[in-house]
């Protein structure tokens, strides 16, 4: 029984290392993912939309079967884990063979191999070494790297190109695992959420996707934010000028736009949205008139005094979104934009007197201007009020993304090598044919793109024939051959 128990892990390994299992797993992944695109998914759908789409009973069942959040369900993740294991095991199973093939290339042919080889040619030659020499010259001429192999006194030629091509498949599978690894790291350590910062303020909490709040060890301040429109009114650009405040010091500033985030300690802050909530005002464009009652435009920024004449200054000091007047006093009513009120502080430095003037644009009312020698008019249009904008930032921390990008690059390289480089081999050996005559046997193989290789092989053969015809005068005496020898070994060791 112990034997059976021991074999269980082995059996699991065997099953997962089987390509067929891998294919079944991939089919399951495909089916599950397709299902995940047809059933509305909770993380990306508003709850009321889900309730509108499915009846409560069906929704309950979908939830129970985790079909409303397939891509984060335990079974889908396990499926992906099994796929990863399958990739690893299949590779482990096949790698030793490939490595042997890669590390110890098959340099010298035997008769069985020669018989089975698909591309081969036999050219009759007159004497020993003449064929090999011609083949060596021809291959060199066509820029094939040549090796002369001498084994048991028997010489042959071996030439190959792009041997690494056979290992590309492991590169591709490794890159896939690297991408998965990145995904796992981000699933465990990563987070993403949202933070909104009104202009001029700083925040250090983000609201995570699951509704929890997370404190950052530093703050982000929004110096300013804005929107630009196309002529037809559709938004063209949102931007925010952000500053990172770490330990009370401003450590980084950047103007971010939609496709260009701010990165700080691996956290990325994306421009996600932009809006105006009306809770704060930055400036105001109004008009005032003096004794001559001529209206003069006046632009005010919050808390920045403006001189009306040498001894009088006016400052925008207060804003209320919803205010009311009772007994000459102004009170705040609520935070929603109902009845705007702006307070101007008018200081007469000659008399050393200060007055607080309230403007109520909705009611066309001015309160508290009785003792002021200037008259203030309400802003007339919405564009005269510079509401303070709020910028919405998507925040994410994805330490695993670098594995993902590395994986993508690696996969690009792997696919290129796997598809567009061909491992080609050519052998040449002199032997006696069936009739006992001396021939030069040339054979070749490629691991893909056979028709292209056939052309290359034919070119090599043609060149060898050419070399045999032109560079070897007929019936050379043996003396000549001895003279050629050192030349050849030099070429061979090069």
């Amino acid at each position: 029984m112990a034997f059976a128990v021991l074999s269980i892990p082995k059996r699991i390994y065997r099953t997962l290392a089987n390509l067929r299992t891998g294919v079944v797993l991939l089919i399951l992944v495909v089916i599950a993912s397709a299902l995940g695109t047809f059933v509305l998914q909770r993380p990306v759908t508003e709850p009321d939309k889900l309730q509108a789409a499915y009846s409560p009973q069906i929704l309950r069942w979908l939830d129970r079967l985790t079909l409303t959040d397939i891509f984060h369900s335990w079974w889908f993740l396990s499926l992906l884990a099994l796929v990863s294991l399958s990739i690893i095991f299949v590779s482990v199973e096949r790698f030793p063979n490939s490595w042997r093939f890669y590390a110890r290339p098959y340099r010298k042919t035997d008769s069985h191999f020669r018989a089975a080889n698909p591309h081969k040619v036999e050219i009759p030659i007159r004497n020993a070494d003449q064929g090999l020499n011609a083949a060596e010259r021809a291959l060199k001429k066509l820029r094939w790297p040549v090796e002369r192999i001498v084994d048991n006194g028997e010489a042959s030629l071996y030439s190959e190109k792009h041997r690494f091509s056979v290992m590309a498949v492991y590169l591709i599978h490794a890159s896939l695992l690297l991408i998965f690894l990145g995904g796992i790291i981000d699933g465990v350590f990563g987070f993403s959420g949202f933070m909104s910062i009104p202009q001029g303020q700083q925040r250090n909490t983000i609201e995570l996707k699951n509704g929890k709040m997370k404190q950052l060890p530093f703050s982000v301040r929004c110096n300013s934010a804005g929107q630009e429109d196309y002529a037809d009114g559709s938004p063209k650009k949102w931007w925010s000028k952000l500053a990172v405040v770490d330990d009370g010091r401003e450590t980084q500033t950047k103007e971010i736009v939609v496709n260009d985030p701010l990165v700080y300690h691996g956290l990325r802050f994306y421009q996600a949205s932009y809006w105006i909530d009306g809770k704060k005002v930055d400036g105001l464009r109004i008009a005032y008139s003096g004794l001559d009652s001529k209206a003069i435009p006046l632009e005010l920024r919050f808390n920045q005094p403006v001189n009306l004449d040498p001894e009088t200054t006016v400052t925008l000091i207060e804003y209320m979104p919803d205010a009311f007047v009772r007994d000459g006093q102004v009170f705040k009513k609520s935070d929603s934009i109902e009845n705007l009120a702006f307070a101007l502080e008018v200081v007469d430095h000659a008399n050393n007197s200060t007055a607080k003037v309230w403007l109520f644009p909705a009611e066309h009312n001015v309160v508290g201007a009785e003792n002021v020698k200037f008259q203030f008019q309400n802003p007339t249009a919405a564009k005269d009020i510079d509401f303070s904008p709020v910028t919405g930032l998507e925040v994410s921390y994805e330490p695993g993304q670098w594995f993902v990008w590395a994986g993508c690059l690696l996969m690009g390289v792997g696919l290129f090598v796997a598809f567009y480089t061909v491992h080609m081999r050519i052998w040449a050996v002199e032997l006696a044919d069936a009739q006992g005559k001396l021939v030069l046997w040339i054979g070749g193989t490629s691991n893909k793109n056979k028709d292209r290789f056939e052309q290359k092989f034919s070119a090599v053969v043609a060149e060898i024939r050419n070399e045999l015809d032109t560079n070897t005068p007929a019936a050379r005496p043996l003396v000549q051959e001895k003279k050629e020898r050192p030349e050849l070994t030099m070429a061979g060791t090069k």
Binding site: S33, K237, W238, Q271
Partner: protein, 472 residues
């Protein structure tokens, strides 16, 4: 190889060496060009604007399609040569249309489904010409050109004005991502056409082609009838806002439908017309009697006539008419532009049926024109070897871009998920081929399946499933 006796065939029309069709197509092309020219001059403005150029491309692609079909019916090899010339001229016009749009908008045309189709058709025509010239697959255009025509017709109906880019699309990665997408999709389309060619060359039995063609046509009409058939025989189509040139919306994403009376019945009849050959095919299978197949082939012919009638009725009744809506009071105008996919589906169904007839009548001629099955199989594999890295690049650049825009490189959005599924299907093809030695038939089926998934990813996801990838 099928050992069964060949299907009893309808008598093919006599092979004439005549130039009748050539003259006819030439006249047709000339007529359409002159009408278009007159129309364009009357409307004023530049003659060489994008929509005119695209119209010229459409005319020539349709001419090419007609010539390929003509070759199918008459077996005149000369037609193929002229079809290829037509394709080339259409391609030039298409290129100019792309260039013009690019010049006007100052950015490559990749930002809406219309612009995507524009680039897709361009790539498809280019690859068709390459496959013809370089690999000698002469009649690949008989599949890719009808596809191009359907796409251009769809484009005539989709909103085509140059819209400014929303902030998320303002990125260099848009161009890289979409270029890769278009290249890979068009390469997949070519691999699909090659796989079909392989099946033709490989003596894939004609009656199976009959079954699959009928299934496709039935599927299209079933889809229309199931989603659009109204009680009392009407057909519901989207109401059209003629002023703003958009569909009428009741709420966010909810279209207003109007009902065209009686048209629904016609679609049901066409559906029955498509079902008949399928039923006859199964009858022949069940009773082992091939005489049913002869009837089935005649039924395909009748089916095409029915489809033409339905298409005509649909076009006439939808164009510039007004109908009542069950959801809101009043009459609402309709337009062909509001039902691009019904129209596209109907045209595709007619093309598929015609291709089948061409196969039925001229199979041996087609086979003679094609390179060997081995070559076709290998070229299919090669195109997928090109498509797969492109697909990988498309997904990777899409993820990179999403990361820069939405803060996450993978969010299981339907478009993303389906792109991954497409990738897995082609990965499956490659594994089966390399490690299991799948060749020929099985590999061809896989390539066809792959393209089916591509079509769904490209068009189906955009129109059927919700998601972030809303622009295309």
């Amino acid at each position: 190889m099928s050992t069964r006796a060949r299907v009893t065939q309808i008598e093919p029309p006599a092979t004439t060496g005549g130039n009748a069709l050539l003259v006819l197509v030439g006249l047709g092309v000339a007529f359409l060009l002159i009408t278009a020219l007159l129309g364009a001059t009357k409307a004023g403005g530049s003659l060489f604007n994008e929509s005119n150029l695209l119209y010229v491309a459409l005319i020539f692609y349709a001419g090419a399609g007609a010539l390929y079909m003509g070759f199918g019916v008459t077996g005149t090899a000369k037609y193929v040569k002229y079809a290829s010339i037509c394709t080339a001229i259409g391609f030039v016009a298409n290129t100019l249309a792309v260039a013009h749009r690019w010049y006007l908008s100052g950015r490559p045309p990749f930002a809406s489904i219309y612009e995507m189709l524009l680039s897709f058709v361009w790539t498809l025509a280019l690859l068709t010409l390459i496959a013809e010239k370089k690999f000698g697959v002469k009649i690949i255009g008989s599949i890719t050109m009808p596809l191009a025509v359907v796409c251009v017709i769809l484009m005539q109906l989709l909103p085509s004005e140059v819209r400014p880019l929303v902030p998320a699309l303002q990125s260099t990665w848009l161009h890289v991502h979409v270029t890769l997408a278009m290249l890979s999709y068009a390469t997949c389309a070519v691999s699909f056409a090659l796989a079909m060619m392989f099946l033709i060359k490989d003596d894939f039995s004609t009656d199976l082609f009959l079954a699959w063609t009928s299934t496709l046509v039935t599927g299209i009409y079933l889809g229309i009838v199931v989603t659009r058939f109204e009680r009392w025989g009407g057909l519901s189509v989207t109401a059209w806002d003629a002023q703003n040139k958009t569909d009428v919306f009741l709420g966010r994403g909810v279209r207003l439908f109007v009902t065209i009376p009686d048209l629904g019945w016609l679609f049901v009849i066409a559906l029955l017309g498509a079902l008949t050959p399928l039923a006859l095919y199964f009858l022949a299978r069940a009773r082992h009697d091939d005489s049913y197949l002869a009837v089935a082939n005649k039924a395909v012919f009748v089916g095409i006539l029915l489809q033409l009638v339905v298409l005509g009725a649909f076009v006439l009744r939808v164009r510039d008419s007004s109908y009542a809506s069950p959801f809101q009071d009043g009459l609402y105008p309709t337009s062909l532009a509001a039902s691009p996919f019904i129209l596209g589906g109907m045209v595709a169904a007619i093309f598929a049926s015609l291709l089948y007839l061409m196969l039925l009548w001229r199979r041996s001629d087609l086979q003679d024109l094609l390179p060997s099955g081995d070559t076709l199989d290998r070229v299919t594999y090669k195109t997928i070897c090109i498509a797969f890295p492109l697909l990988t690049g498309m997904i990777a650049t899409g993820a990179f871009w999403a990361n820069r825009t939405w803060g996450s490189y993978w969010s299981w959005d339907p478009k993303e998920t389906w792109a991954a599924i497409t990738w897995l299907v082609y990965a499956g093809y490659l594994h089966m081929r390399v490690t299991r030695g799948w060749r020929g038939r099985r590999a061809a089926y896989f390539a066809i399946l792959g393209f089916g998934v591509v079509i769904f990813t490209f068009l189906g996801v955009t129109y059927l499933l919700p998601g972030l990838h809303a622009y295309a």
